[in-house]
Subunit: 419 residues, 2 copies
């Protein structure tokens, strides 16, 4: 390899995901091996994703990374583990046009530049680390001509952030806990792609919080150490739910899907509460959203909407179809209207074509909403302006893709520095 | 027995109690037999109690009851079970002065008048049914010259409201779940009287709630039917905690007492959350109080305050001694000040001599409070006026007593009707 001035780079986009059977608790803190299997839905990257550009050049003097425009340290073990694992699998790369020729052995000493960007607020608690580490590993695998399949790559992404392994696939994904000490069988597999069940519509309520939250890393460590319910959940409850959830997804059985999702979300938060000191991720707004959905589902006789909450107060609501999603959004906006003078298109983001279908694209449209009759008087009064920061409308989506269009790259093709 | 016009009556006072190892779940809904043992602290009846007057007269044409001045139906099975059980144990009663002569067999056909009054708001969620059924059974036992000891009476009160059985004793009380199908061994026993550990000071924060709460009766039924964690808690977790809590009480070991109380309260609420649909008794204010106490205990290195929450958002805080209670009250009033123009003596009730010790009896005294240094910035800003309705300061207290002073009776000694 000559010491030319070339910069060789790849840009990729990776989705985030939301677990419907939850991952909570590691049996190995270093390798990030979980105490139970988990299942997730991949969210459409058009609305929630990470874009990462990775570059290699003989002119780079050290590994560097920029996250959302700001340089961050790569010295943490999670980054180091991912970089070491992926480097050891690098293959030969040649780009005659650019004069690039890299041999397998070169990856150990070539330095990398990495720029990553989330198209949603990192602080919103929307699993940015899952999409981030998945995108890091996926883009580096493409850059380095790594031959591993997505499941094998998922075992690398897992070492950056557990739930990242599930973002290597679109649609419905299972993270198998595995049994080996080295974690090589703790990988994600796709249960069904995003086209398998494309009726589903997902509405995320980004809930305002005044409380600083426990990070999921330290939270789950404390749960493993102190909760007397966690092991029972992991050993006795989750294995059965995994089988049932796989079946529900296979059969597009929305009633079972909803029952399992809601129960498992609640049980995960129950384990958090059983932790010492207790961890509260949901707040009164989260509880109000649950009450609204539970009452609606009961009044309809058959489940219309599933809910699930990760390590924060945000509600992820999965509607059985577009018609239900429209009604759901109307109900949500009735109870959680925007603050005065808020543009509806900034209050409902993502696929906000739903606003028109819900008759909510005009002036005063929220003020004219009627309370959903079946849930009136049940979840408190309509005075909750500001409890929800905004809503995101999305759907199940595809897995990681390379973005071949160089204009989407986050690094300058000449300097390898952020644009 | 002659058909004279006499009215014979007894008035008694009975305390309420707060469980520190929780009762949640029945194995027999009719006899009210629990799935695990529980342990409680009896609260001083000077601050929280029920007073009940029971009267018998040949002139009464039916059983009648008045609760807080309003006539209520006695047709429910809980009242009927208590009345049947206690009647079957009635003895001979003679009061020559009044011309009263009742034989054992007469109790089956003599009618009763019952008037009961709580010295605290029934709606505040302070276990009014526990004190109420205990007082009903205790006062009837006195009226009817029942020879059973308090444990045997507790098995009758238990059939009115499970936790009522623990209000038959002062101090520290265990409700043994028992193993017999007929419930005869599911009784309360005293672990230690109220003088055993009289350093303890109890502050109850009556928390405002805008959500209608699930009754504990239906809540625990739903938990038994749907929570996959409840049986594990009842069988594997609670039995060990009961042994440890008995030991902690015996040794006045406040650190263990606190750890067990807090963990068990949180686990009970975890089981509620694991119920389908989930039950939320604690709200954001409850969570904020927990955070305050947890952080304070950690910063002190050794536990100063235990917390426990029943089926509602109210916090019951147990301070290791009076000095700690004064600091606790100062911290609570800093974070949860009264609304403007509130008289401090109506915001801190019960033993409000503590106000003077805390320097909170003067004008503007709350405004001058400094944030507790160890917990500053940790539980949100100080803008929570109205989150707490009021505080009650109390202590461990005595069991039921007869009130011989006729002026305290709630029924007229001539007519047997409410005064």
């Amino acid at each position: 390899m000559a010491a030319e001035k070339w910069v060789y780079m790849v840009t990729a986009q990776t989705p985030t995901n939301i677990a419907v059977i939850k991952y909570w608790g590691k049996r190995d803190e270093v390798r990030i091996l979980p105490v139970n299997d988990s299942i997730s839905v991949t969210l459409d990257p058009d609305h929630l994703c990470t874009v990462t550009t990775v570059a290699v050049s003989p002119s780079f003097d050290r590994d560097r990374m920029w996250l959302n425009g700001k340089e961050i340290s790569l010295s943490g073990s999670r980054y180091q583990n991912c970089l070491r694992e992926i480097r050891s699998r690098g293959g030969d790369v040649e780009d005659k046009e650019k004069g690039v020729k890299i041999e397998k052995k070169d990856w150990e000493r070539l330095n990398l530049h990495i720029a990553s960007h989330n198209n949603f607020p990192t602080a919103a608690g929307l699993a940015s680390s899952a999409a981030g580490f998945a995108c890091l590993v996926f883009s580096l695998a493409k850059l380095m001509n790594v031959e591993e399949d997505p499941s094998q790559l998922s075992a690398i992404a897992r070492q950056g952030s557990g739930s990242a392994c599930r973002s290597l696939f679109g649609g419905f994904v299972k993270w198998k806990m595995g049994s080996k000490d080295d974690g090589s069988d703790s990988v994600a597999v796709q249960l069904a792609d995003e086209k398998h069940w494309d009726d589903l519509v997902i509405i995320i309520a980004v809930v305002s919080s005044r409380q600083k939250e426990t990070s999921s890393t330290s939270g789950m460590r404390e749960s493993v150490e102190t909760s007397l319910l966690l092991q029972h959940r992991a050993k006795e409850v989750v294995p059965k739910r995994i089988v049932q959830m796989e079946e529900a997804i296979k059969n597009r059985d929305f009633a079972s899907f909803t029952q399992l999702s809601c129960k498992d979300s609640n049980q995960f938060h129950a384990v958090c509460l059983d932790t010492s000191p207790p961890i509260f991720y949901m707040n009164d707004t989260s509880h109000r959203i649950i009450s609204l959905v539970e009452k609606w589902n009961r009044s309809e006789g058959t489940p219309q909407v599933a809910y699930t909450f990760d390590a924060g107060p945000n509600a992820v609501l999965i509607a059985r179809n577009r018609k239900v999603a429209v009604q759901l959004l109307q109900g949500l906006l009735y109870y959680f209207p925007p603050k005065p003078d808020t543009d509806m298109k900034s209050y409902v983001v993502g696929d906000n074509s739903i606003l028109k279908e819900a008759g909510l694209d005009g002036e005063n449209s929220v003020e004219n909403l009627q309370p959903p009759p079946e849930i009136r008087d049940n979840i408190g009064s309509q005075d909750q302006k500001g409890e929800v920061s905004y809503f995101i409308c999305t759907r199940p989506g595809r897995g990681p893709v390379v973005l071949p269009d160089q204009t989407q790259a986050l690094l300058d093709p000449e300097t390898g520095l952020p644009k």
